[in-house]
């Protein structure tokens, strides 16, 4: 069986000061089927190389956005990446079928507990509602939306929970298959 190839787009503006995302990235970066692209390192002045990024998309089966949740969305460069790379005629539109059938997965760290993402919680909306733009973007590009992996409660997370989360993230990608998830 062919191992699915995974493209991990990592967006953290200050990786030096990151606690959780850096750990999560370390947990999976060495997997042989995973290609990591740290967008803030590659494009510190936001001049994204569209052709190169599109080529990378074509070569992979699962696309991951991994980032902290900033203002209920991604850090700015991921938005810029979408604006530039997901071109009409490439990712969407009548002839835009380059991404059709690929899987899409969001991997996110959030500061608050899961319970706050609720109509009666502090954040008013559920995480599913918050991530609707990503889900619809994947949908418009004919990609298969996967249930996002969210690490909640990052403000005061204990070591075991983090280790456990890292371990399950690694296993998730290691054993990823395109067929069963569908």
């Amino acid at each position: 069986m062919n191992m699915p190839k995974i493209l991990l787009l990592f967006a953290h503006p200050h990786p030096r000061k990151s606690k959780l995302n850096k750990r999560l990235l370390q947990a999976v970066a060495d997997l042989e089927n995973v290609t990591v692209k740290q967008l803030y390192e590659l494009y510190p002045d936001f001049q994204i190389d569209v052709e190169k990024e599109q080529q990378a998309l074509l070569e992979h089966d699962l696309i991951i956005f991994q980032h902290p949740l900033y203002w209920y969305s991604s850090p700015a460069i991921l938005k810029e990446w979408q604006d530039c790379v997901l071109e009409h005629g490439f990712a969407y539109g009548e002839t835009g079928t380059a991404l059709a059938g690929k899987h899409f997965l969001s991997v996110i760290t959030a500061g608050s507990e899961r319970t706050s993402y609720d109509p009666i919680g502090r954040n008013q909306f559920t995480m599913e509602q918050m991530l609707a733009p990503f889900e619809q973007t994947a949908g418009l590009c004919h990609m298969v939306w996967q249930p996002p992996r969210i690490l909640y409660g990052g403000f005061n997370i204990d070591k075991e929970t983090l280790d456990q989360h890292c371990q399950s993230y690694r296993e998730h990608l290691q054993n990823y298959t395109l067929e069963t998830e569908q």
């Binding site: 030096r16 000061k17 510190p44 002045d45 902290p68 760290t109 409660g153 990052g154 997370i157």
Partner: protein, 598 residues
């Protein structure tokens, strides 16, 4: 009494220079001509303020000595070695051909053969002072004509030595020469060896010792002492003082005190050279000119023409770009200060008679006057030409481009390549044919000409252009050009490269809104790279750099608005202090608030 008259003379010299030089520059005549005219005005034939010029001239020749010392400092031995072929080939050819032809003409005019030889030798030499000053003013040294000209001048400086040595042999009466023969040569060799070894081994520790005193004036005194000392030594053994100081300059060109020496000697050189030109103006004997106007003017024209023609042939033979040949020929076509030396020595040893020597001196002085004038003519009417293979055309066409790039060195070339990629046409001007030819290979077309000249820019279409890019090598020229263009064509946006902060401020005052310091972005990039190698994320490093850049710009604008030098220093210090404190507190701020969970 004596002191009083000395001060008075100094006062007259300085006043003449201060009046005549700015006027000459304003009229586009150049500083050399200004000094010469000043000399004529205060000399015995016009106002008669100062009547005895020869002792001043002897003193002022020291300007030439210092000039060669400074040139030596710029040339390291390996560079000099690279130039050996043009020095010997072109220099030798020029001196030999000119001397032979001039001597032949002198013979034909009925002079004794000894006199003819003296005339040929002394008139073959050109004026180092005038040529280098003009090259400096017009920034010609890096061009092919500048390089060839310089090689020939160097050869001439060396050729003076044997010329002076054979003068006693040419003595008509046989009484003048107590020739030292082998002893003389031996003495000269010992002196040269002394200079070489002291330059190599003795001077560096002495410099360190002097520099350790941290007294500026002691260093200045020592720099002067060095130049004077070598000159005295060379003079004592009968060698050219200029050649000796040149040698020491070359030996010190790799010393760490090179720049310190340059800045110390530079002002003395400038003043003395000015004085030298003034004294040349003063020695023009208008009495002889009035008595025999046709003879003297005829000789001047003949001399300049013959020397120019020989130089032109050398230029063709050495493969100089065609547009440069005429300028090169004119540049070295005059007689030089060495002629004065040779002629006066020849007179004392009776190798020439006083009357002929007097006439030749006037001819040489007048021929020195012609060079700045001829250069003006050449620049105005013959140079703007398209370098297009071997067929120069005579005009810069108006291509109706919206962008004009003045200066096509490292900066101008990158600018042109980048906008060329966007199909934005630019009219490019440069006065170095090598730049133009190199770039022609990449499909660019650049026009040959001095971009600081308004009339040339006007033919290039500046009136209809939107943007002028100033990427000239000369800082002063860039400022002057910006000033002129802002005044005459205020609608044009000027984008300029600046050398450093001081230059940037001058450019801003001349109407350039945002000059770009040439080392700014490469330095910032290196600093940014340090941050990323120290573990900063690329984006974070970028943010820090951008913030620094903004603050630095604030400082620049603060300095620009400073009225006085004191203001400038205190404003600079305040802004820098404030800004560094802010950068530091900023980084603390960031460390604290970056979310724990990110």
């Amino acid at each position: 009494m004596e002191e009083h008259s000395l001060l008075l003379s100094v006062f007259i010299y300085l006043s003449a220079a201060i009046v005549a030089v700015p006027v000459a520059k304003k009229l586009g005549l150049g500083a050399v001509l200004g000094y010469l005219i000043a000399g004529i005005l205060i000399g015995p034939w016009v106002m008669g303020l100062i009547n005895e010029a020869s002792h001043v001239m002897h003193f002022a020749e020291f300007g030439v000595v210092m000039l060669l010392f400074l040139i030596g400092l710029e040339l390291n031995p390996s560079k000099l070695w690279e130039m050996r072929k043009p020095i010997i080939g072109q220099g030798g050819l020029q001196v030999l051909l000119s001397a032979v032809i001039i001597a032949a003409v002198a013979l034909a005019l009925g002079l004794r053969w000894e006199y003819a030889v003296v005339a040929g030798m002394s008139l073959a030499l050109s004026s180092t002072a005038i040529v280098l000053q003009i090259m400096d003013e017009k920034n010609l040294l890096p061009t092919p004509s500048g390089q060839s000209g310089f090689s020939i001048l160097l050869f001439q400086d060396i050729a003076v030595i044997p010329m002076l040595a054979i003068l006693p042999i040419l003595s008509v009466t046989g009484s003048g020469g107590e020739s030292e023969g082998i002893m003389g040569v031996l003495k000269a060799l010992v002196a040269l060896a002394l200079i070489y070894f002291s330059g190599r081994y003795l001077l560096p520790p002495v410099f360190r010792y002097i520099a350790a005193t941290r007294m500026r004036e002691v260093f200045t005194a020592f720099a002067l002492l060095l130049v004077v000392g070598i000159a005295v030594l060379m003079d004592a053994v009968g060698l050219s003082m200029a050649l000796g100081t040149f040698m020491v300059g070359v030996l010190l060109s790799e010393s760490e005190y090179r720049h310190e020496l340059e800045t110390n000697i530079e002002p003395f050189k400038g003043l003395l050279l000015g004085l030298f030109f003034i004294s040349v103006g003063m020695t023009v004997n208008f009495g002889l000119l009035i008595n025999q106007p046709l003879l003297i003017l005829g000789l001047v024209v003949g001399l300049v023409f013959a020397k120019g023609l020989i130089l032109y042939l050398i230029a063709v033979k050495s493969g100089m770009p065609s547009a440069e040949r005429l300028r090169f020929s004119v540049l070295l076509s005059q007689g030089g200060e060495f002629a004065f030396v040779l002629l006066s020595t020849a007179t004392t040893v009776t190798a020439i008679d006083t009357e002929i020597s007097g006439i030749l001196t006037v001819v040489v002085a007048l021929s020195m006057l012609t060079t700045p004038l001829l250069m003006l003519l050449v620049e105005r009417y013959f140079t703007p030409a398209v370098i297009d293979g071997e067929k120069p055309e005579m005009d810069v066409p108006n291509e109706h481009n919206e962008v004009i790039i003045a200066g096509f060195g490292r900066v101008g070339q990158i600018v042109a390549r980048m906008i060329g990629a966007r199909n934005i046409g630019a009219t490019i001007l440069d006065h170095n044919p090598e730049h133009i030819e190199r770039i022609a290979k990449f499909g660019f077309k650049a026009y040959y000409g001095d971009a600081t000249r308004m009339d040339l820019l006007e033919t290039a279409g500046i009136a209809e252009a939107k943007i002028l890019v100033i990427a000239l090598d000369g800082n002063d020229q860039a400022v002057e050009l910006a000033h002129e263009v802002t005044r005459k064509y205020p609608h044009i946006k000027i984008l300029s490269r600046a050398w450093d902060v001081v230059h940037a401020i001058e450019l801003m005052k001349a109407g350039v809104e945002m000059p770009q310091r040439e080392t700014m972005y490469s330095s910032l990039k290196i600093a940014e790279d340090i941050l990323t190698h120290m573990g900063y994320g690329a984006y974070e490093a970028r943010q820090v750099t951008a913030k620094f850049e903004r603050h630095d710009l604030e400082i620049l604008h603060g300095l620009y608005h400073a009225e006085t030098l004191e203001d400038r220093i205190s404003i600079g210090r305040d802004l820098r202090g404030k800004f560094e404190a802010q950068m530091k507190s900023d980084s603390e701020y960031r460390e604290k608030t970056e979310p724990d969970w990110s």
